[in-house]
Structure formats: structure tokens, C-alpha cells
Symmetry: D2
Subunit: 341 residues, 4 copies
Amino acid sequence: MIVVMRPDATEENIQTVIKTIEYCGLKVHLSQGSEVTIIGVIGDKSKLSKSNLELLEGVDKLVPVTESYKLSNKKFFAGPSIIKVGNCEIGGKEIVIMAGPCAVESREQLLASAHAVKKAGAQILRGGAYKPRTSPYSFQGLEEEGLKYMAEAREETGLAIVCEVTSTQAVETAAKYVDMMQIGARNMQNFQLLKEVGKTKIPVLLKRGLCATIDEWLNAAEYIMSEGNPNVVLCERGIRTFETSTRNTLDISAVPVIKAKSHLPIIVDPSHATGIRDFVEPLAKASIAAGADGLMIEVHPDPSKALSDGPQSLNPEAFMKLTKNLKPLIELMGRSFNNHE
Amino acid sequence: MIVVMRPDATEENIQTVIKTIEYCGLKVHLSQGSEVTIIGVIGDKSKLSKSNLELLEGVDKLVPVTESYKLSNKKFFAGPSIIKVGNCEIGGKEIVIMAGPCAVESREQLLASAHAVKKAGAQILRGGAYKPRTSPYSFQGLEEEGLKYMAEAREETGLAIVCEVTSTQAVETAAKYVDMMQIGARNMQNFQLLKEVGKTKIPVLLKRGLCATIDEWLNAAEYIMSEGNPNVVLCERGIRTFETSTRNTLDISAVPVIKAKSHLPIIVDPSHATGIRDFVEPLAKASIAAGADGLMIEVHPDPSKALSDGPQSLNPEAFMKLTKNLKPLIELMGRSFNNHE
Amino acid sequence: MIVVMRPDATEENIQTVIKTIEYCGLKVHLSQGSEVTIIGVIGDKSKLSKSNLELLEGVDKLVPVTESYKLSNKKFFAGPSIIKVGNCEIGGKEIVIMAGPCAVESREQLLASAHAVKKAGAQILRGGAYKPRTSPYSFQGLEEEGLKYMAEAREETGLAIVCEVTSTQAVETAAKYVDMMQIGARNMQNFQLLKEVGKTKIPVLLKRGLCATIDEWLNAAEYIMSEGNPNVVLCERGIRTFETSTRNTLDISAVPVIKAKSHLPIIVDPSHATGIRDFVEPLAKASIAAGADGLMIEVHPDPSKALSDGPQSLNPEAFMKLTKNLKPLIELMGRSFNNHE
Amino acid sequence: MIVVMRPDATEENIQTVIKTIEYCGLKVHLSQGSEVTIIGVIGDKSKLSKSNLELLEGVDKLVPVTESYKLSNKKFFAGPSIIKVGNCEIGGKEIVIMAGPCAVESREQLLASAHAVKKAGAQILRGGAYKPRTSPYSFQGLEEEGLKYMAEAREETGLAIVCEVTSTQAVETAAKYVDMMQIGARNMQNFQLLKEVGKTKIPVLLKRGLCATIDEWLNAAEYIMSEGNPNVVLCERGIRTFETSTRNTLDISAVPVIKAKSHLPIIVDPSHATGIRDFVEPLAKASIAAGADGLMIEVHPDPSKALSDGPQSLNPEAFMKLTKNLKPLIELMGRSFNNHE
């Protein structure tokens, strides 16, 4: 960390900062510039957590030099990390596609979805049993009943299953059924929930918050990992901007940025990012081309009857067409994908 | 709700939309424009929740005409709502100031804060016992021990107390101690938590999410209120934008917008909005001038030693000066405030 | 356009709105909902430009149903438009790459760049002679001298040339030299400048503004086209968001959105979008995969000596490697590209 | 400026950076941290403009320590600057209100506006003769004819006049008529235009761009000032965010931030910031309470007939009421205002 002093800082001000840093057991490196003085802090900066250097007389600002996340940081473990979910591996050579309905609505709807996505090459079935909805008057999910249908779909198809968890109680229940737990965008900084899934060791799909920076996202991963669960997969799903022609703005740059900063795998959810069915295919292709390790796609046997997010869901035929179109691109990128053809 | 058809929609497309709406027990109103046809939906639109009209052939878009929140909506109850917290009322004539440290750090620090803010006219003591922090390596709060110090401070000073809750478990524990529970910005769409505090009837301070629209914020209030707890106070604390010279961007317009849309009281937290001590006073004044019902201000007996948010905290002298400067402005606005002078 | 009345609007209020609309020579369609009344306006809404319906008693809001841009709108001309620049065509089967230095710095630097990008398959040479810079103390461009070097480079290589114009005077001068004029992001709503380039008929590369919505962008194209110049190519170059790990946030969704709303070609500039050399290749691939008609890439013979935007510039070897890597992807997408191999 | 090296930078990398800096005639200060090495640059960093340090092997990032604007910077001139416009002074004790219609529509409309705003205490008449409009099909202004009506209104009322200029040609024409030239939000980074108004010495009202940071805004002021025109007044008019319940989001914090960073006066335009008449008064009050030096308010003799921005315009009675309500607040803030009562 660097302490930048104000141009009008006195020698006494500078000495006070130095003494404060040294008092915490750290070393300083003083640099007298032509306009301002800069004080470098040498050592573990967490030792400074109890001293608010910003408030000392004459201090202009503190500039962090290193990231606050460690376990997810590529600087400390080059990776790549490969996360095993059921029988598939995310972050390895294979591109992993998670697909299924936004919400589990009924046994029939889910089993139909599962067979359809299996047939088209998906390795993981998604389906929400606990739905976070903006309005309390919208459909909120089948809860444990939905999880049971998910487990049944796994039995029938061999697909691994991923479900969103929205509370401690949901984590406890879901842990009995799922292969992977999803933390949704709205809960990315629900730190209590992050700690709970961290304690389980079950792989976690961590969606990026609507207005979370990439640093905050990696710090959220750190919450899970620091509880002893290294099995984190990141999922870019669009951020909130001023643009309204898509539901969110897919931050495609997040893919190479994460690859540069972290060893964790990253997948992309073009369905939630745009909210519009017709844009799923071009953005799925863009994600693969940018280097993503997988995709999450909403598929519903009859999107016009979906209780949630119908407009962005593909029907089984459209999803089959999508995976067929993706396969040659995936192979061109040096990755593999088996759509059973 | 209005269904806007595409310019190339056929008569058959239009008839299908009409039949779908009527099938749900609603009436339609057809309007044939020069370029496009518009179909108005008459009746309770929640009946349409199972039919995804957007997906029908020929439909361009759906335009909602009415808000999805009801209980917090001024159109259904003109208000203003006055929320009683301890001995004070928020939303009435009096301006209510909540003040205290960001985090409860020790018994001494808290009691010193409590006496200081009481002396300067605050009616409610704030202090975090459960701290949501971006990095898992930052100080996380004293939890129940912190709540006990808060309760002790109430005994000593007569101040009401408000604490943030971050999980179901924290709600249960806090309910035994506090006069008001705070939902923090990062949990504004933690719907499970909103329901939990909704079940308690204890007044709730609902902070706006970093990237929540005002409509989403009022829908979050709706989650609390629809569980049977009408005692919601809104708190604007800055939104995330591209500007970096302040920690967040205080959306001062939220004050008159909320007054126009809802009957709930709204207060402003200039400390978190800017993150910079020197800007607290001008923005506190701006908030009162814009019509806010109160303020939340961070005060610490020794900001340079604060474990959290020291740079934005006022010391007791600065807080005393602030309330003295605010008093004539509050009275000019036709409100009242007693700073014991 | 639709006029939504307030729930408390009186019959008299409604009649006043109806009369106002009819007075302008338009027809109305009245729809009495269960909560609110909606009044549809039938006919050319520009006739209403002098009557502020929003201000009439009882009006809640106006909801536009159709877009304000016409000439660039796919609803009125399906397209695709193919724009001829020098000997190449943008928007047809071929993917067009514009490459070269951010700024023309010297004759040698520019000619070296031109030969390098030509060799790697670029069809258009870019190079700034008029540089809009945030600080007045940064390098501002060689102006007409730069344009002369550009023209010389065209003579030597056969490449078409594109240069940014920043003022009426620059348009006049550039018109004598260039094959295509660029409107930069900061001038996207410099309407005077848009009209000037509209009068020339020279093809225009219209970069999206840092915080321009897609609708505003298409309206800016409309300014150029309504002056009689239909030769507009759109360029997505990143928008401003809260994320700081890239210089801007590339809005990759803009590619399919533009394809859905307009017949104009769209290219992507991954160099400016990210500001970081290492991210140019993954985002160039993502752009092609999403359906872009071309790319704009910064190439400098020695990026470490560039006067502007060195960190995002590729050197000739890296650019050669990029086009080699892009070629099979371009062909997989059903497009063509000749990198002279 | 500080150069932060990567953790894996070699001794040779570090030496290359040092030599590059020294080659430019600057000194370095080396600081070997526990994780990374930091190299401080001592001296005038503009000497480094030709060497792209970011690109040297082993460099992680450059961290600027000082601002790039000088003439507008409070660190170099404490101020406050007081700008004389006609007979009034902006930035002194008096609060200056600029008011009038968004666009000059006719002689009658303008004169009626001028008399009305004069009567209510405004010192400067605003009125647009050159209108930047999103769509080319909207009303574009009366141009020179509008300026003549403005000058006539000045003769009749003694008010100073301010008009927006949108091109070099408009600057030349306006210079013959106006007391102050306005640079609109869309042209804040039209650097050519900034230089043109910089050459005139006529006071400039510089509106903040829709997505301009405060640093970019002060750099835009620097463009004007570095041409020899120190008479710059800043105007906050709302920034673009995700929130849609107001037209823009008024960044009220900009007022104290500018006061901390610059000696230039700052006024606020609540009419454009919100786009809604009813919010003008609360935000005008908030602006004064936050320390603004003045206001810009849209007033139209008959807002329901305004050709531009009617919904945000006050009629003369509402404006009279506004200034009456503002007066005691202005005086409480230690400023003065004469509304002729």
C-alpha cells in the first residue's frame, strides 16, 4: 500500500504517518517527489486494519497495490483449477453446458426439460426451486418438492444438477439433493450465505452481482474458499448499466479479465444477460470465442407457458440447434463438446 | 398492461393474443394505430402470470402501466405513514437523526458514542454488530456481544437502538435487543431476509441497494409489508455510478421521488453515500432541504482508530457542530429538532 | 404513442387530452381500464410536437410505441446495407478489418504501420490526425500533415483510409484526402458535426458515445442520413460503467441488437473498449462470433513509443498472429477474409 | 506517478524501467516491498508522455498521484474565483439564478419569459437559440434570430443573457450578442469548441457531460482556461445512471467535491437533472443547502406549449413562488438574493 501525502503536508505530518506504520510492525519506504511525498508500506498490510491512516493530518489518499483476495488469485496459484461436478469437469478441456428451466414448475415440465437438454449435449441440469423475485406477488418456487424432481431427473438422465440457494435453510435442504449450489446475483454479497456454502464443500456456481466489480466478485469467491471450499465456478450474467435494449449488459470482457486474475473457471449465462431469446445464440458463441469454460442456458419445454423468464428461454428444438451450431466453434477453440451426434 | 404488436403482425396474431388474454378472465381493448396495433389488458394483470404474452407470434413488447407494489404505494394509501421507533416518530414533524459508530467495537467505544450522540440531539443510536464486509479478512463484528452493549447504551441514555441484521439467525437474536432492524444495501434483495424481518413487526430501516432502482426498492419494502409488518423506513445511501470521487453517488432526487410514489418515510445516510467526512455536512443539509425525514450519520469517539469506515466518521465535536448547524435549517423547513440547547 | 392517465383523472381531464390530440389532426383510441384510462394516439405523432401532453391535468405519463429514427430503422428497410469504402465493402460477406496507429505521429511510423497491416490482411488503414484528448496538455495530432501521410500510405499500399474528424474545418480538410470519416465517441451527439459529414456523402464510421443508448446512437446515424448520406457504418467501442478493470465495458450485445433494429453494418473496436493489449484477441473473436461485420484494431510499429494509447496497441507481429487466428473463425461464421496467406 | 511492478518482475525489468525514466530527465525512487517493487517518478511527468511505461516488461500498472488539470485546480490557486457576467458576479456572496425558456421560440414568448424571471429575482436570462436534439426531426432552434430576441430582452430588462453554442460558427455569431456562452452536456468533450470559446474571453457556463467524471469536467475547463479565458462557471445538470424515475441523476455531491478540488464557481440545473417540474423546488433547495453558487431554472410563459422540455419548465407563478421560498434558505446559508420584494 502507498500513502500519498498532500502537497501542503508538513514534516511533522510525515513523521506521524511513518511512526503509525512502524508501530504496527511494518516498514516504510519514503519517497520525496517534486510535488508530493509518497510513503510506501512494506509488509502485511492487514496489520494496519486498526489504524485509519487516511485520517492522519496531511494524508491525501491511500493507494492499494495488491488485491485483497488470495485463494482465488492467480498470482498465488497459477491454475487453472478444474472443478468436478457429478461426472463432468469444469475448467478443463471440455466445454460444460448447464441447461434447463428458470424455475422447476412441475415434475412433467422438469423431466421433459431434462431429457431434452441431455439429448442436446448438456452435462448439468439447471432448475430453480427457490426463486428470488423482485415482487413478492410473483411465483416463488416449489422449494424441497422442486429439489426432489431435480434428483429424480438426475436418476433418469445421469445429468448432474445445480440449484440456486437463497438462505441457510435452503443450503441445508439442497445439500441433500444437488451436485452444485448456485449463489444468485442478488445474493453475491450475502456474506452469511457465502460462508454457509463454503462450509459444505459442494461445488458452488457463483453468479456475479448486478453491480459487482470483478474485484468484489473475487472477494465473494474468497468468502467461500476461506471456509474450506475451493470448488468455485464463476458465472458472468450481465451487469446493470444505462442501456435498456437488453435486460442487463453482458460484460464479455469479464471472461479474459478473470482468466488473467484468477485460476477459477468462468462460464457465461447469455439468457439472463439479455433476457431475449433471439440474442442467446450470438452471445453464446461470443462467450465461447472469448474463452469461457461453459455456458448456462435457459430451456423450457414450452416457453410460452413458463412461470418465470419465458421470453429468454429456448424450446428444446432451438436448444438442439444451438448446441449443433456451437460444436464446430468449440472445437475450433481447441475445446471439446459431445452433443451425442 | 398494454401489448404492443409488431408492424407486421397478422390479424391471426392479434386474435391469438386477444384469446389468450380473455382465456385468463380478463378483458381487452383493441386500438388499431396507423403503424401498429395496441391491445390494452383490462383487469388484474396477475391473472396473466402464467401466460408469456411476449412470446406470442407478432408481439413486439409489453408495457406495464401500473406498479407491482401496492402496500407501499401512495396511490393506494396517501399517508404519510409515521413509524414509531422507541419513543420517537419517523415521518412526522420531527427530524430524526440516527447516529453512532459503523461497527460496535467495544463497550467503552459504544457507550462513549451513545453519550456523545445523545448530547447532540440524536434520537436513535446506530451501531453494527453483524458487519457485511467485501473481504472475508476484514473485521466482521462482535455479534450478540455487540447487541448487548447496544442494549446497555439504551439503558444508560434512553436512545432507541438500530442494528443491521444479515441472516435469519441474526434476526432472531437481534429481535431480543433492538428497537429497529436495518437491512443493509447488499441485502436489499435478500428476499428471505426481508420476509423474516417482515414477520417480526419490529420497525425496519430498509437501505437502498447499490444498484437498485426506486421501483425495486419499493418492491423490497413490499416483501416486508406483505408479511404483516407495515413499519418500514427507507434509507437512501448512494448508488453505484461511474463517478469515483465519492464512494457512491448520493441520489438526492430519491427523496422527492419517494415522497411522490410512496407514503413511507425516507431518511438519508450521507456518511456511506460519500465515504468522506468533509462532505457529510453539505449533504446532510441538502437532504433536509430536499425533504428527508431524517438522517443517519456515522460518529466515532476516535475515527482514526475505527475498525470500519473511519474516514467517513465524525468525531463527537464535529457531530455536535453538525446538529447545531442543521437546527435552523430544519426549522426553516417547517420541521423540528431538539439538540438540547 | 399512448397516454396513460392517473387513477384520479376526471372525465373532464380525459376529454381535454382527447380534444388536444384531435386538435392536432390525430385520432384517439380510448381504453378504460380497471385502474386507469389509456388513450392511444393514432397517426403521425410529430404533429403533437407543439403540445406537451404530459402537462395536461390528470396525465400520468406518455409511452412511445414507435422509434424516432426512420432511415436507419430495419422496420422501414430490411437491408442489409452494404457500404463501399475504397475498394472494399462493409456489411457484405467479407469481414473488414481497419487497423493502424491511434495517432499519426510521423511519416515513417505511419508507412511502417500501413505496410504491416496490409500484409496481415487489413483492408482499411486507420490513423488519427485530429486527436480528442481529455487533457489539453496531451498530444493533439498532426492535423493536415497527418492526412497527407495517410494519403501517401494509401498510394503505397492500396489500402483505403479512415480518419477521425472533430470540427467543421477538419471535415472540409479531410474530405480532400480520406475514404471514410470517423465520428469519435465524444462527438456522437455533436449534431452540427453529424450534419456536416452528412452533407459530404463520404462514408462515415460512427462510433458509439461512452454513455449513449442504442436508440440515441441510431438517432445520431439518422442525423447523418437525413442530410442525404446513407453510407453509415456503426462502431461499438465500449460504454462507461462502474467496472474499472477494463477502460470501458464492451457491450457485445450491441452487435445482435443493432442487427435486429437496423440495416446498417456494425463493427467492433476491442482496442478502445478494453484499453489492454492482451484482451484484444479474445474480444476480437467474440465480436466476430457475435456477428460483427468487421473490426477496428490499433497497431503500432513500436507500441512502447506510441504517443497515444500505446498500452492497447498491438505490434505488427501480434497483429499478424491475430488475423491468422481470426481467419478460421471468420470462415466458420460463413464470412470471408483474405490475409494473403 | 508511481510504477507498480508485477510480483514476478526481474531485477533486469526493474532496471529497464529506471533507465527509461532517467532517460527522460526524471528521478526515480525505488521501494522494494515484501510482495512487489514500487518505483516513484520524481519530476514533471509530462516528460514521460513519449514513453509508454505500462508496456515495459514486468510493469503491473501506473498510478497517477497528481491531477492533470492545473489552472482550474484549487491546489495551485485557492480562490474562490468570482466570475463577472453582465452586472452580476458568480461565486461571490450573491446566489445567481439563470432562468428562462429551454428554447427561444418567438419574440413574444422570450420577452414574456424575461419580464417574468426578472420580476422574480433572476439576474441572467437563459434561452436556447441553437438546440442540440437527439432526433433530427425535433425543433432545432431559431439560431441568430433567437439571439436577436435575447439581446432585445436584455435591453428591455437589464438582465444578462446566456445562450448555448454548438459550433464554431455559433460561437462567432453568439459572441456578438451574449454575456455568457453555454457549452452543453453533449459537447463537454467537443475539444475544438472548448478551444473556440477559450479564445473569446466571454464567460463560459460549462455543463457537465452526461457521463463525465469530475476529473474530465475539470480537464474540459482546463481546455477553455489554457486558451486564455479564465471565466469558467461549472454547471451540474445530472449524470446518466441506471435509475429511470428521473431523466438523469443529479449528482449533488459534485457541489462539495468541486468546492474541494477547484476554485471555480458551480451552479446546479435541477430542471434538466430531473426532467420533472415537481422536483425542481426540492432539488433547488438541496443545491443551495449543499453550497452551490447559483441555479439554472427553466421557465416558460406557458409550459404546455413549449417546443422543448415543457414537462420540466415552471410557469411564471411557480417560478415566483420558488424564488420566494428560496430566499430565506439562501440567507440562512450566509448568501444573499434579491427577489425585489
